[in-house]
């Protein structure tokens, strides 16, 4: 058995650290909920479970569309009760006020008819004396709030009197089919005199049912509009839901899309809620802890919706940058990406260009991905990234995760000063990009692994479940590379000092563990050694997972404790 643990010398110190031991003790081995049918092999994996919330995990809840609709219905009922209006009207009022009940109540109590007009529920009681006076009212009621065009203009330009019905303002509930029109009535849109069914909102602007259907469908399907105005020119009435539903009675999918648009509008109006950004997903995530921008300086709100999907729908509640940019906070991640974009040209130039040997100054080109450079002329061996002698890097290049500001400057004395700051950036950028690239290659690694798993089932008597350790390991590697990638963005902005050193120690340990496991996964499989390989991979996966835990946990705690100091101004920090 002990021969199965034939670790290299490097691995010897894996379990020496005290924090490792204590973490291991804390974990226990309760099965995590995503390991279905894998109990047999869970014994091998005492992978951290989700029993207690970690500092880097944020409390959030996934809500289905039905659940959101219930919340909407409760608000509608509340408003309907207070104002004594039907629910269709209450819904239009709430939507007009972006679901801000308090503001709606205040405004409505102040001037109910003005709010009703603005919400597209009723017509102004009298034609306003001038078109300019009508403009602000209309622009409020209009769904097209983004328009910068002064609405009074249309009236003036077309020079046509407003043909509004003289009927006084009416509160309308459900849009009802109008009684038969006096013959001959031709729909003013399609000019089809064979039409017999006409509909109008309370403004009495009648159009045939076919035109209403085509119009409502276009608004919903092509414009994603949830406030559908009357088709008449300059009429600001908005169709209540019952009217829309009636018009779409033959087209349930479009009615369904309309309801989704309403849900999206409700979610978009509430800072505690976010619609899942994955295509055609209808889940919403509630994360009150991250609703205020100020919270984003202390937490990284990585959340996941309730959809059953592979991969799961993970996203950041605080920003659209990347699904999971832990451990670094949104603001710093954003700054880093901007820097990468701005500097990419210079960085590419430097990267693609040659460097001078720090000893004999002859020009050396980088070949391949290895950072271990040997000068063709003087045989001097050095590190491409830091320009320091390779001998100081030991057998592993990992110790180059730390950009040594002082020694680095000495080594690069020959280079210009502006180049030194660029080199500093490149130190972090290269590692960031490398992990990003490697994480992207996980698809490839996964199919390779799958093949290996198949081979294992043939060449050994392991079962399908027993060879899952490979998949588990690949998943872990990908996860950790994402963490590593963002730790380099964070380290670039961390101020020099003890805290940064501790951060980089954790980073180095995680990186070493990940590279070790990666290497093992790429290695050749010898049938006889499968049991030992399995043991090794399993052990290393557990270890990698714990290192990742430590990295994330410690960084998250640092944010909560205000321990991190930056070398630049970061929004929200003093």
């Amino acid at each position: 058995m002990s021969s199965d643990y034939d670790y290299s010398d490097d691995d010897g110190d894996y379990y020496d650290e005290d924090d490792m031991m204590s973490t291991q003790d804390d974990e226990g081995s309760a099965p995590s909920d995503d390991d279905m049918d894998m109990d047999a092999f869970n014994d091998d994996f005492s992978v951290p479970t989700r029993n207690a919330r970690k500092s880097y995990e944020i409390e959030h809840e996934s809500l289905s569309q039905t659940a959101i609709e219930k919340l909407m219905a409760a608000d509608i009922e509340h408003i309907s009760g207070i104002f004594g209006v039907d629910e269709g009207t209450a819904s239009l009022l709430l939507r007009h006020m972006n679901w801000n009940k308090e503001r709606l109540i205040e405004k409505y109590m102040d001037n109910a008819s003005a709010v009703s007009v603005a919400a597209g529920i009723s017509l102004p009681s009298r034609s306003p004396p001038s078109s300019s006076a009508a403009a602000p009212i209309r622009s409020q009621g209009s769904s097209a709030r983004s328009s910068s065009v002064p609405l009074g203009r249309t009236t003036r330009q077309r020079g046509k009197p407003n043909s509004r019905s003289p009927t006084p303002a009416l509160m309308h509930g459900s849009g009802r089919s109008q009684a038969a029109k006096p013959e001959p009535f031709v729909c003013p849109i399609c000019f089809d005199d064979s039409q017999t069914s006409f509909l109008a909102l309370s403004c009495d602007h009648s159009f045939c049912a076919g035109c209403w259907n085509a119009y409502v469908t276009t608004k919903i399907r092509e414009e994603g509009e949830h406030a559908i105005r009357c088709m008449a020119e300059e009429c600001s009435l908005v169709a209540p839901d019952s009217f829309v539903q009636n018009v779409l009675s033959e087209d349930p999918p479009t009615w369904g899309r309309f309801q989704e648009l309403l849900v999206r509008h409700f979610v978009g109006s509430n800072p505690n809620l976010k619609y899942c950004p994955y295509p055609s997903c209808t889940f919403t995530v509630s994360c009150p802890a991250a609703s205020h921008k100020s919270a984003l300086t202390t937490i990284v709100p990585t959340v996941q919706c309730g959809a059953v999907a592979t991969p799961p729908h993970k996203f950041c509640f605080g920003c659209p940058i990347e699904a999971d940019h832990r451990p670094v906070i949104c603001g710093v991640a954003k700054m880093w990406l901007k820097k990468c974009r701005d500097d990419s040209e210079t960085a590419n130039w430097i990267k693609s260009n040659t460097k001078e040997c720090s000893k004999c100054m002859s020009t050396i080109e980088k070949n391949g991905g290895c950072n271990h450079m040997t000068c063709k002329k003087c045989k001097h061996e050095f590190c491409w990234v830091c320009m320091g002698p390779w001998s100081e890097h030991g057998t592993a290049w990992y110790s180059c995760n730390r950009f040594d500001e002082k020694e680095g400057v000495d080594a690069r004395d020959a280079q210009s000063k502006s180049r030194a700051s660029l080199e500093r950036y490149l130190h972090y950028y290269n590692r960031w990009a490398n992990h990003e690239q490697s994480a992207k290659l996980s698809v490839e690694l996964y199919s390779k692994t799958e093949k290996k798993m198949e081979e294992m089932q043939i060449t050994s008597d392991l079962t399908w479940i027993e060879v899952q350790f490979m998949k588990k390991a690949v998943d872990e590697v990908e996860k950790c590379r994402t963490t590593l990638k963002w730790t380099y963005a964070m380290a670039y902005y961390l101020d020099k000092g003890n805290e940064k050193e501790l951060f980089e120690d954790n980073q180095r340990d995680l990186e070493k563990a990940v590279e070790d496991l990666s290497e093992l996964l790429e290695s050749q499989i010898d049938a006889e050694l499968i049991p030992s390989l399995r043991q090794k991979v399993t052990d290393k996966t557990v270890y990698v997972s714990k290192r990742n835990e430590i990295m994330l946990e410690d960084t998250a705690k640092g944010f909560l404790d205000g321990r991190w100091a930056w070398n630049v101004t970061v929004e929200g920090f003093d």
């Binding site: 209009s142 097209a144 983004s146 328009s147 910068s148 065009v149 002064p150 609405l151 203009r153 249309t154 003036r156 330009q157 077309r158 020079g159 046509k160 003013p188 849109i189 399609c190 000019f191 089809d192 159009f207 076919g210 035109c211 085509a214 119009y215 276009t218 608004k219 092509e222 414009e223 088709m231 008449a232 020119e233 300059e234 009429c235």
Partner: protein, 219 residues
Amino acid sequence: MDARLRRVNKEIADCKNDRSSNIRIDLIDSSPFHLKGSFPGPQDTPYEGGHFEVDIVIPDSYPFQPVKMKFITKVYHPNVSSASGAICLDILKDAWSPVLTLKSTLISLQSLLCSPEPNDPQDAEVAKHYTTSKRSFDDTARYWTQIYAGGPGSRGKTETKESVRDEVAIAGLEKAHVDQFEALGFERGKVIDVLRRLNYRGANVSKITEDRIVEELLK
């Protein structure tokens, strides 16, 4: 019959039968969904006497989404792109209503020529010209009408001297300015080009140094 086709056919027919109107809608090719509208420039404007043509494309969801229109004739107007003919008008965007027609929309374009809206410009440079020097703007707009829209005064004027002067006006520049830099030995076409690019007109004249212009001319 397709509802869109019926509606468009009726619109074209109605427009033809309306003898009191000066709006025309014509087919460009065999498709009834790609048309050409035209109307005379409104009276008492720099566009008076011109004949303006508009490219009309009728989208699949017409009339529930707005018709697409742009000027074929070059127009010097703050809400019309001097390069592409694109039009900035609310009813062609979110203020569209399905009861509007091709004809009523063309009438709106005609009245847009009467009342520019420089605060919501399509062509920023032209709008700037309009707000800084209305008189000079009118001159340029009139020249464009003459040259591109067949406005009065354009017929029979083929002398080269005349067309050179027109070039200056078209660019919205002062003849004196062009002469001044031409006198320094630069080619006239290049002077017009540089001054136009630098927007050397109206209030800008005092902001741009002669050195700067010479520097540009030497490039």
